[in-house]
Symmetry: D2
Subunit: 345 residues, 4 copies
């Protein structure tokens, strides 16, 4: 089986990572690479690490260019995916459209409108296969909404606790991210001189757009509304998310029950590693890989559970999750083109 793929937004970090993975995918063939402001440029000037595509020329992002592929990855600013997807065909025919952006992640239109300020475009099957029920929704679909990078880390870190009733429905999350999470936008605070040697928070106080997505996933697992106090911080590294998640323990929760819940939840998940007791995740260990590393603890003084998760925001957090979901949708082996091994040190 040869899967002909196209990547819209191929000059950005997310699009580049999709390409990196597709280049190593045994069934994928890479067709059109498109962009907007950079269209017409030699691809090697934009993404010099992607050597096999260096002599390609970036095409304009249009439905005409993207049509005729089996799978189209959209790595675009939010708000651009709906119209493009519609032009490419309905959800019953046409290509598999995989949106790495936010447009189709949220089920509740009110959430979307509050956080994005535009009309809700709809809801697509959610590309986080490790969530309960997710694989069934992905099989055979022609539409996939790739989760946000923070929600990927936080949901995998907290869903087992909520699914097993071990945590009270008020989660507190502080997550450090590498700068690639902010994309290639030319903003002063993303300059190397500002970022190196510095940590700083942003989007504090419940305003980060990934918050409702976390609430949605954790609430689904808990069977009741879970609030999430989410503070993202920008860390001096290019890649990686370290999500420190905690919640008040429910009565009867112990370190043993906590650990057992995570062992059970992830024992058959190839891309989720619950580390042995005493070993804590480090983002370097998952760099460039599709792995999530988790560790859990119960603090008896504060009576809270703490779960720390590490992912690569661009791989499992975006492009890896996208390819994993594509594999499921197409009936391929779920791990094709993906590695559990990080590029460390």
């Amino acid at each position: 089986m040869t899967v002909r793929t196209a990547v819209a937004g191929a000059s950005g970090y997310a699009g580049g990572e999709v390409l990196r993975l597709l280049a190593g995918h045994p069934e994928a063939e890479v067709g059109a690479l498109t962009g907007n402001s950079n269209a017409g440029q030699r691809f090697g000037a934009l993404q010099p690490h992607l050597v096999p595509f260096a002599d390609r020329v970036l095409e304009e992002t249009t439905a005409d260019v993207l049509r005729g592929h089996d799978v189209v990855f959209l790595a675009l600013p939010h708000g651009q995916s709906a119209a493009l997807a519609e032009q490419l065909g309905s959800a019953d025919e046409g290509p598999l459209v995989i949106d790495c952006g936010a447009d189709f992640r949220l089920a509740d239109p009110a959430d979307w409108e509050r956080f994005y300020g535009t009309p809700h475009a709809g809801t697509w099957p959610y590309g986080l296969p490790e969530l309960p029920g997710a694989r069934a929704a992905l099989r055979g679909t022609r539409r996939i909404a790739v989760p946000g990078c923070f929600p990927t880390a936080v949901s995998l870190a907290l869903v087992p606790a909520y699914a097993d009733g071990l945590a009270e429905p008020e989660a507190v999350v502080v997550a450090a991210t590498g700068t690639s999470g902010a994309g290639k936008a030319l903003k002063p605070h993303l300059l190397g001189s500002e970022v190196m040697g510095s940590m700083s928070p942003y989007g504090v106080g419940g305003v980060h757009r990934h918050t409702p997505e976390m609430v949605q996933n954790l609430s689904a697992a808990a069977g009741r509304r879970v609030s999430v106090s989410f503070t993202p911080t920008l860390a001096p590294m290019s890649r990686g998310i370290l999500a420190t998640c905690s919640a008040k323990a429910t009565p009867g929760t112990t370190a043993e029950r906590l650990r057992a819940a995570y062992e059970k939840a992830y024992q058959d998940e190839p891309f989720v590693t619950l580390l042995p007791e005493g070993q804590w995740p480090a983002t370097a260990s998952v760099q460039g890989s599709n792995s999530v590393h988790l560790q859990v603890a119960h603090d008896p003084d504060a009576d809270r559970i703490i779960v720390v998760g590490a992912v690569d925001n661009l791989t499992k957090g975006t492009a890896g999750g996208a390819v994993q979901s594509m594999n499921i949708a197409l009936g391929l082996d779920e791990g094709l083109g993906l590695s559990t091994i990080g590029v460390a040190p």
Copy 2:
């Protein structure tokens, strides 16, 4: 007034930072520099950035060497300060002894014994002048316990909220630290190859030794016991702490009341800057300075207050706090030898 100072543990990061500040202090004269394993070495080989002391030779850390100075800074592993201080004279005579270590920070012997596993050595006046009542206890004292770097950041971030009754007594703190906080210990996880490009937590689940110190300070401010769920993370930078602190808001707490409490608490504090609304702290801005930068928010969905504080762990978090406290103890201008300006970018 000339203050003759000595630094025990001068080859470490904390001791080196004390020296850096003393070299710029208009009233200080630097006498003995001591160490243990490095005694006998040329100082410039150990701390090449401290040019004026390069040709000194590190002496052995003994009471004989340290005696005869007006002020003795101890930057030693915990457990070594008590005996040395006693040999230097009683608290009524002899030099001002400033312990940058943990030995005399905790008031409750049970806390000490639980977290350090050795008998409690005592409690000294606490060198965080911005805490209520701290300056009075420091004036004229011959003993100062310099706070831990994390408790410095966290206490300054949360005390006003607890003092004004704006937060429920269960704080959640996630704090990223630069690697110098771990000292010069030769441990594999502190190698540059491991640290760069990586974030990782440590001491998770209520076991970090700075936890009871935070509990002590916040409880004092709240007038009742405050629990602290504390997770430190190691960040790829040499210096700096970014403490993200939150707690459930008490009924009636609003963003306005919160901000007002911090404005009132710190309006006359030269080393604490409450940033204008919308601007968040970055550790680079306080690098090498004695400043603390704070910002506050109220998340109405999670109904939590969030306070983020940035300090330099070596300066305000250790050596700067020590020098500031020394100035108070000796009746000097509190800011002598200290700068509010960070070395950025």
Copy 3:
């Protein structure tokens, strides 16, 4: 064809990178993993990024453990390979032994003895396939000496110029390396606190042990002795070498002739990319890949040629070169298990 491999020194950076590549090699099967001081430990505690091997236990490095594999990679401190190789069988039978260390790289015993101070152990076929004649020597061999990381970068950068007579026989090389080049040794100057935000040279003045290897390779290309003034610098990054190489131009050398020489030399080399004019190499572009990125210039004022090369010291500079050479020795496709794509950003 299934190739059964073993890795001695698997807990180090070089050994870990060999494993990372073998895990993705379609014909390789990973047998014994050995070490010395860490033998008996769970592998996942030593190399957490190598998830598929996490539950293995590191064995002792002995010939008994290593015997019975088709290929044995040695990633050991220099001086240990000769005895071990001999115990594994002669060069005519027994496994293919691939030494990632220095022991068998130098042809001239005098060079070895001068720089290493021990008797010369011999010379093995040299694992830099892109050098003239190298592939022929590698085919069918049972012994491979993997080049040093610096000589890999510098030889690929300068050999075409010397082979075509474009450069005078006095090369000047300044090469920045990531800290993984120094291994996991617990030395103070390799601590993250020391390395981050800092550049420093080491081994200055012709004393670095990779110097005679560069001289050997460049002299072979030039057909006369080439001297190399080599200064390595330690850069604040985990991986990567940026080698800035220059030499006086020979009469008649022009920018055009220079470029043509490199185009000709590398037009059929999949792992060497001569970048388009105006684009310069960056180590991030080759991170984790087996690629070398090169660019050339002629400075008419100084009348020098400048060639800058970027490699990943652990991949093409060590483990990638080792696997590439293994593929040739075993008659496999040369690029199996190797990627030209870097993990960027």
Copy 4:
């Protein structure tokens, strides 16, 4: 004596560093702070580390605003200083104008026109006091051209060798710089995601604009034209330059004579430290300081001298050199407001 100063371009990195130093200068008072695109903004939003100036508002850069100060620092893009200086008064009256830009550094109009493509504006006394004759030219002047950051490092590294006839007149320099050397320009290659974990060269082949300035300084020392092959590289750090400089040794040059030349040249220079034999410079050791750290070696095989120098590009390389020169011009103690101590680690 109170010196009233103004800083034009105060929102940039160079201007910010000038301000940081002036804030600690016992005789300086800071008047107008000006900028262009940022005029009208609260200064604390632009330079949050400069706490004492946070509530100032950035004014427009005009002669009217700058007039009336004793000293005016210009930290502007090249080409803007000449007109402004003229409006501020002649070189015989009016304020001391200190240009941190390039406009007045080069003596030879042909050099200027070739590298900058505009008419030459003139030549001002050169603000590198450690060069032979420089202090005499600075005393009492009303015009100072602050050297470029690379020429500062390279000139101090090589002038003694050329002055003493120890090096042939063809220097080869490879210098790594922190990203602040490129200013706050919003260019893709300066994004943190691109810079961290990566080294790359730029301006290769004799085209970097600092080249003629190095040629000028070294030629003056040698008494004949010295060519410089200069390759700058961008390093993953915010600050610092590490300049690796070498040249063929002249007949009779030995390691001893080399070292003696540097000892003699710098024995009375407070801001230049020739490190003890065996110790090599690191940029972290001079971070934020006005120090230059140097070390020398002779490579007998290549018969070259190698001199490595470390400076902070923003401090000694720009703002520190500017303040040091101001002190000389005004007859103040040369070291006022400057420190030899770096902020390390």
